[in-house]
Every structure is written in structure tokens, then in C-alpha cells.
């Protein structure tokens, strides 16, 4: 196989497998190094290709290594196998056909890489190995006569640019289908997020993570920050230590509610959470198919969200929820452990005795939180067995889950149906893009209680203790404590007060949001929306027509450009000679029909005696270039012509 093809192929391999180091065993790079070195030595005829027993042994060793370094057969293991095959195939590369297999495998490995990281940077980077693979493919077709490898690369780049319009057309118009079947998923390392069991420690962990949870783009103006309660799910069961989702399987799926007031329209681009619930403001509805509204007003996706997901939402903030709640729902909202936290229960009885109206009772609790020395802190002291009691009456230090959990407990103990809602609160508004970024540290917990004539009502005890948490955000709420992202000194979010740095960060995040929203989120529903609104395409036939038309147009343009009838020209020598003739024609000398270049030059030299020397020089060079040595025609001739032109001026 040609030399350039081999060098491009090996380069491309390294570029392809480099990003995988983050997800797969790093020794794969060493494996590549060994195989590539061997293959190069084979090319230099220092060593033969390995015999089959050695290849078999190597394969066994690699398989064993992969088996040892992976846990079960999941997507990561499959990808590792693919990458290993991609590397080992180099040792089997005898002929052009084997090299083709390696190149195609390389393309496939690139595609697999997107399952691990489909971000903007990763996608842009993938163009680098892609072009190298392309160069290898071109190199395989070139003749053995060595050409500069850079030329191959340039051709690859040209091809890529010419293919871009077609790519755009295909990307926009090719119909997107839903997943055909379920496949093993990438194990996202360290995906943090809300879960269906929350103990206070989980929230502390989340509050240290600046990972993206989701982004929201509003169609109109964004509502005030204090209204941004993004519901994920409700935790109804308290076992004395932690709150969890009720395991009751047979929930009536659609709760009863009435839309009131003005709706809010926005779209959410959600990061993979590996959970089924989506985020939305109460009461949320989405057009995304296969999403249902849960009994607790959450949005439930049909399968865990393992890829970035875009969904449009319509929310009715003023909706009345469940004026008549099912008995089972209310029963769950009154569940308490049989024993424990006696002081809290006692307080609940007192509150109940003092206040007839449940709403007054709630207000009394909020005033209690506001007036007593409660502190909002991410570093609460350790608690004992009666965690509610210890918090309410001893430490008085905690964060959202402590307050919301304690309040739910007391409300239930006082006979008012209540439940804990977890989700996110607030978010960072990016004014240049009119969107909101919600991160893991915006995770929040609040309370919902039920009244017969009003339905479910939201109440946030944290707001009573630390209004700055709701109005400004976590950073301001824990300002004194300096615990905001304390484990990540380099996190850009810690430097939001440096304006140029913050501007850069916001700009970059906006680009990423655009990528998420318009590229990653460009799936079935989003596609039809775009096709309808931008292209007026309503059905499959119109789509097929547009696809053909828009594919044909760039191809036709490219054809015309490649043939370029207007650029058809003689060879450079003839062009130079034509210029020479034109130059002399201006001085009244025209080459007669049948007059040879040499005779013509002699005649011209006689007529223009002053320019004799440059004329004859050009004629001699032209003759030499034409008849003696065709390889180096260009420069000397051009220089001679320029000199003649200067002399004739």
C-alpha cells in the first residue's frame, strides 16, 4: 500500500482513539503504539507481519485485558472491543482491501465516540480524525509515485467542504425516527442528579456540583426568579431517615386539574439524567410523545433520559390542582413513621390546637422559621436518631431538604396532607440568549399541602429562612459560609464577579445552548416543527420532494463548478505565448499564418531592435520549455515576459 496512505492511516488511528482514553482503558493507546510501530517496521521491511499464532495470542491477551478492566458486557465494553479490533487490524493489513476495512472501522469508531460525548467540542474535534481517515482513503487510491502528503490532506479538506452543503440538506431534511429498539446505554461516569430517595447528604453532594441539569428557553419574557420552581418528582414516604418515592405501582396516571390564567411557553433542553422524570413549572404539559403526566403532576418520560432531550412545555402556573383528591393520594400524603421525633409531633398538636385554619397553621410555621434563629447552611452539624427533632429544636442549621422535610413532617402530624417536592429552583439567566441555565447546585426541595377547597398549595420554608437563596441563588445564600463550590477552586462559576471572564463564560454557554437546542435536540418533533415553520413542509411527500430537490441543487452546482466550461484553457505555456503575441501585436507585429515562433521572434527582434535581447530570450525559453524540458516551464518564461513588457513600455 502507498506510503502516504499508511502514514495517514496510522495518524488517523491515533486521532480516533485519543478521546476514548477518557472512557476506556488507557492501555489501548499503548496497544496502538506497539501495533503501529510494528506495521511501520513491516513497511520498512525490517520485520514480517506477525504469524497467525502470534496474532491469536495477542487477540486473547487483549480480550483478557478488556474483560479484566470492564464490569460486565455493556456499551463501554462493546466500544472497547471495537477500538481494540480497529487497532489490531493494522497487524493484518496486507492489501488495499484490509486498509479499507481499517478506514471504515475508523468511521464507525468515530460514530461510537459520539455516544460518549456529543458536545460541540467533541464533535468539532471529530472532524480532525475524520479528515485524516479521508486522507488515508485518498492515499490508497493514489499512484505509488510519492506525492506530498500535504496535498492529499488538502484534497481531503476540499472534498469535505464540497460535501458540507449536502450534509446540511440531509441533516435538516432526513426524516428522524424514534428509537427502533432499546440498546445498552453508555455508563455516564459521575452523573449526579436528583434521585427517588433523598437524604440530606445527597443534596449537599449536589450543591457541590456545577454540572448542567437543563436549560430553558422562554418564548416570551422569563417569569421572576421566585416563581421558578422546577418540579421533578414528589417524595411521599418518610422512614425516619430519608424521603423516598412511594412504591405504590398502580397510580391513577392523570391527575385532575383545571387550567387557569396565562400559560407560559418554553422549551427545555435536558442533559442526560438516566432517570425518567422531566422538569417543568407547575402545571406542565408537553407535546413530546410518550410522556405522561404523573399523579403528582410530574412529567414522566417513557424511558430513562440517556441522551440530551429537547421538549416544549406549556405551563399553567395559576392552575387549580386536584380540588377533589383521590383517597389513596391523601392517605399517602399523611403517612408517617410509627414512632420517632416526639417533639415535632408535640409541636404539631400544639399548632393544630392554636390554629383552626390550615393556612394559618402554615403561616405560623413560616413565622417560626423566620423569627427563631434558624440558619441556612450547607454544613449542618450531625444529627441523632430523631433527625427532625434534632434539626427543629437543637441545631436549627440546615438547608432546603431539612426545612422542607421538617415542615412536611409537622404538617402531616397536624393532620394536613402534605408531600415533599424535589426539583430545581431558579437558574442563571443568560440575557443575550433569553434562556436560563439550571445546574445541579440549584437542586431544591419544597412542600406541597392539600386543602379541600384550594387543592394543592406550594409553600417553601427555605424562603422564610434564607430569602436570598430563592431570590438570588445558592452562592448568595451561603456567602458567609464560603461553601459555594468549595471543592472546585478553578470552577468558572466561582468567578462570576470578574466581568470579562463571566462574559466569556456566558458567551461559551450560549453557543453550547444553541448546539444543544438546534443540533442535539433536532429529533423527530423538533424536526417537524422546524420543517413546518421554516419550510412549510407538512407531509412526507413534500419532504421527499424537498430532499431530492435540495440534494440535486448543490450537486448540480458542484458539477458545473468542476467542469467549469468558462475556465477551459490551454496549457500554461500556450497562455504565456499568447500573452507574448498580444504584447507584440500592440507594437504592430502580428505572427503571420504559417510563421513559426522562431521566425516570428527573429522578425520581431529586427523590427524592435532595442528590445532584441528580451524578445529572443523569451523565444528561446519558450522553445526550450516546449520542446526540450517540459517540467520546468513556468517561472523563467514568466520572468522573461515580464522583462519584455517592462522594456516595451
Amino acid at each position: 500500500m502507498p506510503r502516504h496512505a499508511l502514514s495517514w492511516l496510522l495518524t488517523a488511528q491515533l486521532l480516533v482513539i485519543l478521546p476514548f482514553v477518557a472512557y476506556l482503558p488507557a492501555w489501548l493507546v499503548l496497544l496502538w503504539l506497539g501495533c503501529a510501530a510494528w506495521r511501520v517496521q513491516v513497511y520498512r521491511m525490517r520485520v514480517p507481519l506477525p504469524p497467525s499464532w502470534l496474532k491469536g495470542l495477542l487477540l486473547l491477551a487483549v480480550l483478557l485485558g478488556l474483560a479484566l478492566s470492564s464490569s460486565g458486557f455493556d456499551l463501554n465494553a462493546a466500544a472497547a472491543l471495537l477500538v481494540a479490533a480497529f487497532i489490531l487490524k493494522v497487524l493484518e493489513m496486507h492489501r488495499r482491501r484490509d486498509a479499507l476495512v481499517v478506514v471504515f472501522l475508523g468511521f464507525f469508531v468515530l460514530v461510537t465516540g459520539f455516544l460518549f460525548d456529543s458536545g460541540l467540542l467533541a464533535t468539532l474535534y471529530s472532524l480532525v480524525p475524520f479528515v485524516a481517515l479521508l486522507a488515508a482513503l485518498i492515499g490508497l487510491q493514489e499512484s505509488e509515485l510519492a506525492r506530498r502528503p500535504v496535498r492529499t490532506l488538502r484534497l481531503a479538506g476540499t472534498l469535505l467542504l464540497q460535501a458540507l452543503p449536502l450534509l446540511l440538506v440531509l441533516f435538516v431534511l432526513f426524516p428522524r425516527l424514534g428509537p427502533l429498539w432499546s440498546l445498552p446505554q453508555v455508563k455516564q461516569q459521575g452523573v449526579s442528579g436528583l434521585s427517588d430517595r433523598m437524604a440530606p447528604g445527597d443534596i449537599v453532594e449536589l450543591s457541590q456540583s456545577s454540572a448542567l441539569a437543563f436549560r430553558v428557553g422562554f418564548d416570551g419574557a422569563a417569569p421572576p426568579r421566585t416563581e421558578l420552581y422546577w418540579r421533578a418528582l414528589t417524595l411521599e414516604r418518610f422512614d425516619g431517615r430519608e424521603w423516598s418515592q412511594d412504591a405504590a405501582p398502580a397510580w391513577p396516571s392523570a391527575p385532575q386539574w383545571q387550567a387557569q390564567g396565562e400559560p407560559l411557553r418554553y422549551s427545555v433542553v435536558m442533559e442526560p439524567s438516566n432517570r425518567t422524570w422531566l422538569y417543568g413549572l407547575d402545571v406542565a404539559q408537553t407535546e413530546l410523545p410518550r410522556v405522561r403526566q404523573g399523579a403528582d403532576f410530574r412529567l414522566e418520560h417513557w424511558r430513562p433520559v440517556d441522551q440530551p432531550l429537547l421538549y416544549p412545555v406549556t405551563s399553567w402556573p395559576a392552575a387549580v390542582r386536584e380540588l377533589t383528591a383521590p383517597a389513596a393520594t391523601l392517605q399517602r400524603a399523611l403517612q408517617l413513621p410509627d414512632a420517632g421525633n416526639p417533639q415535632a409531633r408535640l409541636w404539631a398538636r400544639q399548632l393544630r390546637a392554636d390554629h383552626d385554619q390550615p393556612q394559618a397553621l402554615v403561616q405560623a410555621m413560616l413565622s417560626h422559621f423566620r423569627e427563631q434563629p434558624y440558619v441556612y447552611s450547607l454544613r449542618p452539624p450531625p444529627v441523632g436518631v430523631h433527625i427532625i427533632d434534632d434539626f427543629l429544636f437543637a441545631s436549627r442549621k440546615g438547608f432546603c431538604l431539612h426545612y422542607a422535610g421538617a415542615m412536611t413532617f409537622v404538617l402531616r402530624a397536624a393532620g394536613i396532607p402534605a408531600r415533599l417536592v424535589v426539583g430545581y429552583q431558579g437558574g442563571e439567566y443568560n440575557p443575550s440568549g433569553n434562556y436560563l441555565t439550571v445546574r445541579q447546585f440549584d437542586a431544591h426541595a419544597w412542600v406541597e399541602y392539600w386543602l379541600p377547597e384550594l387543592g394543592w398549595q406550594r409553600v417553601d420554608p427555605t424562603f422564610a429562612v434564607a430569602p436570598e437563596r430563592i431570590e438570588q441563588g445558592l452562592e448568595q445564600a451561603v456567602d458567609e459560609e464560603q461553601s459555594f463550590l468549595a471543592d472546585a477552586p478553578l470552577n468558572l462559576l466561582r468567578y462570576r464577579d470578574i466581568s470579562w471572564l463571566n462574559g466569556l463564560r456566558l458567551g461559551w454557554e450560549r453557543i453550547n445552548y444553541g448546539w444543544q437546542r438546534w443540533v442535539l435536540g433536532y429529533q423527530a418533533d423538533q424536526q417537524w416543527r422546524v420543517l413546518k415553520e421554516w419550510f412549510g413542509i407538512l407531509d412526507g411527500r413534500a419532504l421527499a420532494g424537498a430532499l431530492l430537490l435540495l440534494l440535486g441543487a448543490p450537486l448540480l452546482l458542484l458539477t458545473v463548478w468542476l467542469i467549469a466550461p468558462w475556465r477551459r484553457r490551454a496549457d500554461p505555456l500556450s497562455r504565456q505565448y499568447a500573452r507574448f503575441e498580444a504584447l507584440l501585436a500592440r507594437h504592430g507585429l502580428r505572427r503571420a499564418i504559417g510563421e513559426g515562433p522562431r521566425d516570428f521572434a527573429e522578425r520581431a527582434a529586427q523590427a524592435l531592435a532595442a528590445q532584441r535581447e528580451p524578445i529572443l530570450t523569451f523565444a528561446r525559453l519558450h522553445e526550450q520549455a516546449r520542446y526540450a524540458d517540459q517540467s520546468q516551464s513556468g517561472h523563467g518564461l514568466r520572468a522573461a515576459l515580464t522583462r519584455l513588457r517592462r522594456c516595451l513600455r
Binding site: 464507525f108 428522524r176 441522551q307 443540533v519 468542476l562 477551459r568 500554461p572 516551464s633
Partner: protein, 303 residues
Amino acid sequence: MRRLPAARHVRLAPRQVFILPTRAGWALAAAVGPMLLVAVNYQNSPAYALTFLLVSLALVSLLHAWRTLLGVELRAGPAESTFAGQAACFQIFLGADSARSAIALGWPGMERVLVDIPETGEARVELLLPALRRGWLVAPRLRVESRFPLGLWVAWSGVDLQQQALVYPQPTSGSPMRSRAGGGDGDGQPAGEGVDDFRGLRQHQPADGARRLDWKAFSRGQGLRVKEFAAWAGGDWLLDLDSLPGPLEERLSRLCQAVLELCSEGRPFELRVAGKRLGPAIGAAHREACLRALALHGLGEAS
């Protein structure tokens, strides 16, 4: 199917270039399937994009493969004569109005030669074709193809450049079959300068050929001398096809061998083939005429 009319000079026009996917092209098509499945099942936009990029590149490379052949000019060069059983060498010149890469040329069913056309000037290709029988070897249609740049498509055209090479009979040595034209052997008188018997040395003159120089004497420092031979009067060699026994092709082969031997020895001879008399004479032109007569005997002078 449109075929190019035979010509010594051919310029490939758009409608004479055909395009088909290669095996690599089919392989890519097969590979795109699983990629698309991954994109669909994981709802992964970059995976979609990469798949579409490959498809787009395949389409673009189709145009490039077509473009590589378009406007290529093929010119028939001279073909050298050869002997049956050897290979005839045909020369073909390729030119174009711009540089072209990796154009493959070859006879149908035989290995192809890759050639690049430079920006200026022409590329020269020599193609071998086995010559099995004497007579005119007419080159089959030449297959010109381009898989450049990605090897996914092959653009090709069949070109007839009307090339042909003369194939002489295969020389085979056999029983002695030369006879003297004069009949009598050995008893004649030397009749002036000839080629038969050594007579002595004389000083070198500019008109003397190199064949008879006395190199041994020259190496001894005795100056350039020429060996002189005497010719036997009426002693030219006669090669007569009809007087030989055996099948025709064998006789032709033996005569061919004799012509080659006599020429290399520098002896004048006469060849009689089917009533035609060539010679007696010596020299390259006589040799060529004799071999040609042997090659075309009974086949007609056509083409």
C-alpha cells in the same frame, strides 16, 4: 452502450464516461447502514451528521471520479514490432487541460497501470500485450478508468486507439537450410571485397563500419585496422520458403531464425517468399522487409 469510434486520438466527452460503484463503494454503503442505526437508536445528532457526511462525500467523490476522466486526451504512440511468443509494447500518451491523478489504463482483463497527468505536457504509458501469433496484432479496446479520489466509484470508458503492432514469426533454430544461390561450393575465386573469407588487414577509413574493426590489434596499440574479407563470386545466401520441407509455420519460423542469424553475421542474403524476391542485400532495411514478408505471408498486407 455508446462506444467510442476507433481513432488515433480520442478526447473523452461527458457522455462517454460511465460510472459504477466499486466494491469499496458497496462496502461503504453497507457500513452506512449500521451507523444510521446507531444514530437512530441513540437519537444522536452528531452520529446522524457523520453518517450523512459520509453519504455526501460519496456523492461528491462520484463527481470527482467522473471529472478525473472528463476531457482526458489519449493519443496512440508508436508500437514496436515483436516476435510471436513475446509481448508487444504499445505506447499511449495522455494529456488534459489540467492535472489529473491516478488514471488507470489497461487492456480488458489485464492489470492496469496507474498514471498521473501533469499540469502541462503529457504522460506516457507503455502497455504490454502478449503476441501469440505472427501477423498484425490489433490492440483491443483500451479501458481507461478512474477511482480517484475515494475509490468508491469507478468512472470508466472504453477507447479504441486503432493501435496495432507487427508480430514476426517466432524464430526457431532447425536443421541447416541455407543454400547458396550459385549452387557450387568452395571452388570459386574470390571476386573482390566480400564477406566470406578473411583476406587481410588494411588501414581504417572513415566509411568503414565498426563490425570489421580489428579490436585486438587496436588494443595492442597498432592503430585502427579493418579486416578484409573476400566475397565468393555468386555466393550470396538464398532463403527460399518453398524449398523447405515441413509445415508452413515451422518453415516461416526457421526462415525467421535464419534471417536473424545472417543479419547478425552481416552476410548478404536473398529471401524468396511466395514468388516475391527480396535482395540479395544486407542492412536493417532489408532485415525489416524480410521479417515483414515472413510475418504477413499468406495473411494479406491489410492494415
